[in-house]
């Protein structure tokens, strides 16, 4: 197995799926000759040509609208929207059409497209490049919102997303693109959409996170064990929507305590839905109020102050100590 960054792992997924299936088409701004501004699509145009790797005009809504047409025809377009901060320009095509064509045509048409886009902060980027707005997508029925947390699951999830019969919003943490490497097998590997994973087992506290927040959450879990002997169970959601609650509900039935971490703003964020599911399905097992460690309900500051915005190990530990009281 080769050690890969998330960028390389995503590239492997695209390259192999394009090789296997000529329905897979990559399109977006600078995805061809330039290989994408983060190089996720590097080399694809050399292998598959301009016919399957389309450098499009600069129009996010046009990219997604065209992809919807391709998908209705029976192709499997994978769009890259250069930064999630620009994807609001195509929000309307996802909300009005991608999410609805299956229902609106009573199953005659489906929209098996993927919208890949880098989200989140941590790379000292320009304005409009650092926010985490997965809740927008998660609120729309008919689409799926997937957020990998490392190279290996990013590769496996992207393969699943490309093969999925429904539209998938695929959020890639730009902070994770080159943050670390993992062993990624050359042979095919998929990670199922809609199935969270337990990535660290424990009996005292359930910590739920995803995407870039997995690393500080896992660091906090390790510290809890080292310093306090607390055994935290850590769950990586991987898919924000459709949100499968079985694993985290089962975990909280065991631990009685829960803490949720996300980079997205606090109010109406995924944490609110997770906490409510726990209220509905594990209320009588809860030993303490559910804790949330999240971004604040503000526009993310420019990069000199952005670290103060993100949940980090220390904030997670403080919240964990509250959740462990009583």
């Amino acid at each position: 197995m080769a050690k890969m960054t998330m960028v390389q792992a995503l590239n492997l997924a695209l390259q192999q799926e394009m090789e296997k299936d000529d329905r897979v088409i990559v399109l977006g701004e600078d995805v061809g000759v330039d290989g994408g501004v983060f190089r996720v699509t590097d080399g694809l145009i050399d292998q598959f040509g301009e016919e399957r790797v389309l450098d499009t005009p600069l129009a996010e809504n046009g990219i997604v609208g065209m992809a919807i047409g391709m998908a209705v025809y029976g192709l499997k377009p994978v769009c890259e929207i250069q930064f999630s901060g620009f994807s609001y320009q195509n929000f309307h095509q996802i909300e009005n059409h991608a999410a609805r064509l299956r229902r609106r045509s009573r199953g005659r048409y489906q929209v098996p497209m993927v919208l890949r886009t880098p989200y989140g902060g941590g790379v000292r980027a320009l304005e409009h490049h650092s926010e985490s707005r997965e809740a927008y997508w998660a609120h729309t029925p008919g689409i799926k919102t997937v957020i990998p947390s490392g190279p290996r699951n990013a590769r496996g999830l992207l393969v699943s997303a490309i093969r999925d019969p429904d539209p998938v919003i695929f959020y890639e943490s730009k902070a994770l693109y080159r943050a670390f490497r993992e062993e990624v097998p050359e042979e095919e590997e998929t990670v199922p959409i809609g199935q969270p994973r337990i990535v660290r087992e424990g009996k005292d506290l359930t910590m739920i996170a995803y995407g870039a927040m997995m690393r500080p959450t896992l660091e906090a879990a390790a510290s809890l064990k080292d310093k306090d002997g607390v055994e935290a169970e850590v769950i990586d959601l991987l898919t924000v929507s459709p949100l499968d609650d079985e694993i985290f509900v089962t975990s909280v039935l065991k631990t009685g305590r829960a803490l949720i971490v996300h980079e997205a703003p606090r109010s109406f964020g995924p944490g609110a839905e997770i906490a409510t599911r726990l209220m509905e399905k594990a209320f009588y097992y809860l030993e303490a109020p559910i804790e949330r460690v999240t971004g604040y309900d503000i526009i993310i500051p420019l990069f000199s102050r952005e670290k103060a915005y993100f949940p980090n190990e220390e904030r997670i530990l403080r919240a964990a100590m509250k959740a462990l009281k009583n």
Binding site: G65, A71, V72, Q93, H97, R106, G142, K144
Partner: protein, 368 residues
């Protein structure tokens, strides 16, 4: 240093073949087989009569809000008549006769406008997209469909419809630009009916024509008399042939008029005069086309009367059929279907909870 005019080779033509009295410009008469001429005529009559019946059903409370098409039948039928079954129709919401031409049943139109999703069902053998209510938003889909058809090495094309208001939308600009850049086989048909609800086309754009917008994207554009089915057909024929041959997209502006309301929730007296509407009644596409067919001896007054009564019978059968079918469509549990290819767990839970609740709630249960 020079300051010269840039020579832009394209120009915009206006095409009219039947004048307002229905008199033919023989030098421009398109070669249309008799059978097709008569099919077009019957479809225009059907479109008009069906529209009138829908309006009547709406006023009686037997269907909900819909967007009438009266006056615009030639503009969409003349274009869609060029399509093969394997081509793609990407409609807005004022092309009902075109959808019916392509095989959509009248029953399904009634069922849809009476608020049942079943009316939107598209049979497997029809390459029609459902109507698109957000204005102009369907335009880029035609580009993707056309592009895909060419990627699959067919000579199928995509034809999309929209109104004058849609040309102000980003989707219009992006769709036409993408189609031109990728030379996608798409025919963009603008039904310029002069009014986007209350906003006249002069407040929509400062352009002299909508057709000229094509030039900025590097594609041919043509303005036609949209109430002249022969002109629409002739322009669409050129556009479809060009697209099939791999020479890219075309914008056709059909100058027409919405003879009635925007939707049944609209009152046009608030923004336009009776005189204006009256002027356009004189340019009714049906009257002109019938005169042409009478002059060619393809029709007689008796034959027209027969067609009208046949069409009315067909419509009555559709109304009866739809009302019969709708009796079986009351179950609200259907609303949970077709959300995803496989229903997620939490949605199954919601559906089960709903089923339990609805069993005890007479009001919801009988909502159909």
């Amino acid at each position: 240093m020079p300051r010269n005019a840039i020579d832009i080779p394209e120009k915009i033509e206006y095409l009219s073949i039947l004048n307002e009295k229905g008199e033919l410009d023989t030098s421009l008469e398109p070669d249309i087989p008799e059978e097709l001429l008569l099919k077009l005529h019957r479809s225009i009559i059907l479109g008009r009569k069906f529209d009138e019946r829908l309006l009547n059903l709406q006023r009686q409370g037997r269907i909900g809000t819909f967007a009438p098409t009266s006056g615009q039948e030639a503009a969409h039928l003349g274009a869609v008549a060029l399509l093969r079954p394997s081509d793609w129709l990407v409609p807005a919401f004022r092309e009902t006769a075109a959808e019916v031409w392509r095989g959509r049943s009248l029953e399904s139109v009634i069922i849809y406008f009476n608020g049942y999703d079943e009316g939107a069902e598209i049979p497997q053998d029809l390459n029609n997209l459902p109507i698109s209510v957000p204005v102009g938003s369907q335009i880029p889909h035609a580009v993707g469909l056309g592009w895909a058809a060419r990627y699959r090495q067919t000579d199928d094309v995509a034809m999309t419809f929209f109104g004058d208001g849609a040309t102000s939308e980003g989707d219009f600009h992006e769709g036409l630009n993408f189609a031109a850049v990728f030379q996608a086989p798409v025919i963009f048909v603008c039904q310029n009916n002069h009014w986007a609800i209350s906003n006249p086309v002069a407040k929509q754009t400062r352009s002299k024509t909508l057709a000229q917008k094509a030039l900025a994207y590097g594609m041919p554009g043509i303005q036609v008399d949209g109430n002249d089915v022969l002109a629409v057909y002739a322009a669409a024929k050129e556009a479809v042939e060009r697209a099939r041959a791999g020479h890219g997209p075309t914008l056709i502006e059909c100058v027409t008029y919405r003879m009635t309301v925007h939707t049944t929730a609209d009152d046009p007296k608030r923004y336009r005069t009776e005189e204006e509407v009256e002027q356009w009644h004189k340019r009714d596409p049906i009257v002109r086309y019938q005169k042409y067919l009478l002059d060619k001896s393809l029709l007689s007054e008796d034959k027209i009367a027969d067609i009208e009564s046949e069409v009315l019978e067909e419509i009555q059968a559709a109304v009866d059929g739809a009302e019969e079918k709708m009796k079986a469509l009351g179950d609200p549990i259907d609303m949970f279907e077709h959300a995803y290819a496989r229903m997620p767990t939490y949605l199954k839970e919601q559906k089960e909870a709903f089923a339990e609740e609805v069993a005890e709630m007479t009001e919801v249960k009988n909502s159909g």
